[in-house]
Amino acid sequence: MKALKKDWFSITSLVLGFSFLYLPIVILVVFSFNSSKLVTVWGGFSTKWYSALLHNEQLLSAVYITLRIGLVSASIATVLGTMAALVLAGRGRFMGRTLFSGMIYAPLVMPEIILGLSMLLLFVAVDQARGFWTITIAHTSFTMCYVAVVVQSRLAMFDQSLEEAARDLGCPPLKAFFVITLPQILPGVLAGWMLAFTLSLDDLVIASFTSGPGATTLPMAIYSQVRRGVTPEINAICTIMITAVTLGVITISLLNKQAHTKKQSSATIRAGS
């Protein structure tokens, strides 16, 4: 810190960078507590927009649908992503594993608009009525690769001989996975789930492509309301979303950190003994 104090360049870039990132968000949060109906004029502190939210049926049903999609898609994505990670992290050798490992990363860099469009085309091709389930499927497919990546990095630290030891001691393979491997990679799996849930929660593009009548997610509802003019109510709901996502991110990093410090503390105990 001492060196940083003297270095004005560092401080300036830090301040500029973080204001660039967080100023819009801070303004949004501040104005969610604005009592004035005008978004840009401060009219004193109030939480009335939050209570107004409770009576906005449209937004509330959007919240409900978004949460349901998030829960279901994150759960399926976690199962599928974990399975993919297990295979790719070296269980059994098979042809083209490198290719598959590369392919699992593709959706991470693929533009969302293309993912959304391709999903839409698929659902049209199989003549699937669009709604809750189509969004859920689309979200599952794009979040599962994030889960796979997170779990895979966790598995890299996992000593495979643990599972072999379990099997050697008379434990059938599936049970060995649940009793030995899963408890070891659980922080990674949970972090993957949180990540998938958060991604599903704030996705607008893919959801817009794959949704149908009666299945409007929160980001979609906000977006359509904003086109008719921003209300402080939107600020309020956004503030709630920011809080939720922030808590999610903090949980993920805590899960990862806890696993990390566990390793470290065990190392110190070993060194001490």
């Binding site: 050798r93 000593d159 001989s161 643990l162 072999e164 030891a165 379990a166 099997r167 050697d168 001691l169 008379g170 434990c171 059938p172 393979p173 060995a176 030995i180 408890p183 070891q184 065990s266 105990i269 070993r270 003994s273």
Partner: protein
């Protein structure tokens, strides 16, 4: 070889010499390929009940694959594996009466010592009281009663090794597999543990199979050693035989230190069951008289191998005419404390290593650098290896 001071019973243990004896473990023409790589090639091996058998070889020789096939983690591409008269080639690991102690110990980090040891017993759905009794028994066996409630990360390396051992013994397997079990321990602890392992095997009367790359460990622990290289077993024999009568240059070189001389057979006549052979070595510029087990063709190119400790150094040429004698000059002396390794330069500039026990203090060392000396050894000191 002063191996295992365990009395006459142990010394008489040699079921492999009895052709009637049924093997306890048998690999029959086992081949394992990973893609185009052949890890184990047409290998056959018989191991007997209560034997302590070592698979010895460098990395990639196939010893670990062989053990993993016995544990069930790998399935042979071809061939069969038998255990106690039953074919187990395709039985999955959790149904084999075989337990393994892993190199990494593979202790379950989220379970304490007690639960780690109980893990295998729980899989058999034994009554709780039986499990408890057996776990206590195992804890006592490895002297870890005081650590029952500790998690693996709260133990030292040696303690973790003992937990792993107790866990793999808890189910009283027909065979205990040890995969480089002592590799992670320091030298002193390793030696102690070796003795413990030997006593344990004696006490439990179980069949042990150990995989190791450490020749000293194999010599110290095993009743018999299989020396492996590139998927083949080169020699299966007792430590003494492996050391004194290696069948090939690879085995001779892998176990201990040895001098090789390229020779030509110049004479051969039968002599009470064996043969008395004369060799000529260009490198030594000398004739070598050898008593061998079987005759050789005159004119054959062979390798003569002799261990450094089988040769003596003296200033005067020994008078005994039955001894082989080679003239040389002390080139270098490596002082190792208990022994010194003398590097003797013989004619043609070839260096011969010989070991001399340091029976006197260093200051009194009679033979020194650049001294002209004679190397001598009798006709039974070395072996002839085919090239």
């Amino acid at each position: 070889m002063a191996k295992k001071p365990l009395g006459p019973v142990r010394r008489a243990f040699a079921p492999w010499e009895n052709p009637e004896q049924q093997p306890f473990i048998e690999f029959r023409n086992v081949t394992k390929r990973f893609g185009s790589f052949v890890a184990v090639d047409q290998l056959s091996l018989k191991i007997y009940q209560r034997e302590f058998h070592a698979l010895l070889g460098g990395s990639g020789c196939g010893k670990t694959t062989l053990m993993r096939m016995l544990a069930g983690f790998e399935t042979p591409t071809e061939g069969q594996i038998f255990l106690d008269g039953q074919e187990i080639t395709r039985i999955p690991p959790h149904r084999r009466p075989v337990n393994m102690m892993f190199q990494s110990y593979a202790l379950f980090p989220h379970l304490n010592v007690e639960k780690n040891i109980a893990f295998g017993l729980k899989q058999d759905n034994l009554p709780r009281s039986d499990i408890k009794r057996r776990v206590d028994e195992m804890l006592a066996l490895v002297k870890l009663e005081a650590f029952a409630k500790r998690k693996p990360h709260q133990l030292s390396g040696g303690q973790r090794q003992r937990v792993a051992l107790a866990r793999s013994l808890a189910k009283r397997p027909k065979v205990l597999l040890l995969d480089e079990p002592l590799a992670a321990l320091d030298k002193k602890l390793r030696e102690e543990t070796q003795i413990e392992l030997m006593n344990l095997q004696e006490e439990l009367r179980m069949t042990f199979l150990i995989v190791t790359h450490d020749q000293e460990e194999a010599m110290n622990l095993a009743d018999r050693i299989s020396v492996m290289n590139s998927g083949h077993i080169l020699q299966v024999a007792t430590p003494g035989e492996i050391y004194e009568q290696p069948v090939s240059r690879y085995v001779a070189d892998f176990i201990g230190d040895i001098n090789f001389f390229e020779c030509k057979v110049t004479g051969c006549r039968p002599q009470n069951g064996g043969a008395s052979i004369t060799l000529h070595s260009e490198e030594l510029g000398n004739e070598i008289k050898v008593k061998a087990g079987h005759p050789r063709m005159i004119g054959d190119a062979v390798t003569f191998a002799i261990r450094p400790e089988k040769m003596r150094i003296s200033f005067e040429k020994p008078l005994d005419p039955s001894l082989n004698t080679i003239k040389g000059e002390v080139w270098d002396i490596a002082y190792l404390g208990d022994v010194s390794i003398y590097h003797i330069k013989v004619s043609q500039g070839h260096i011969v290593r010989t070991i001399v026990a340091n029976t006197t203090r260093l200051v009194e060392r009679p033979i020194s650098w650049e001294d002209k000396v004679w190397l001598s050894f009798d006709a039974e000191a070395g072996v002839i290896l085919s090239q």
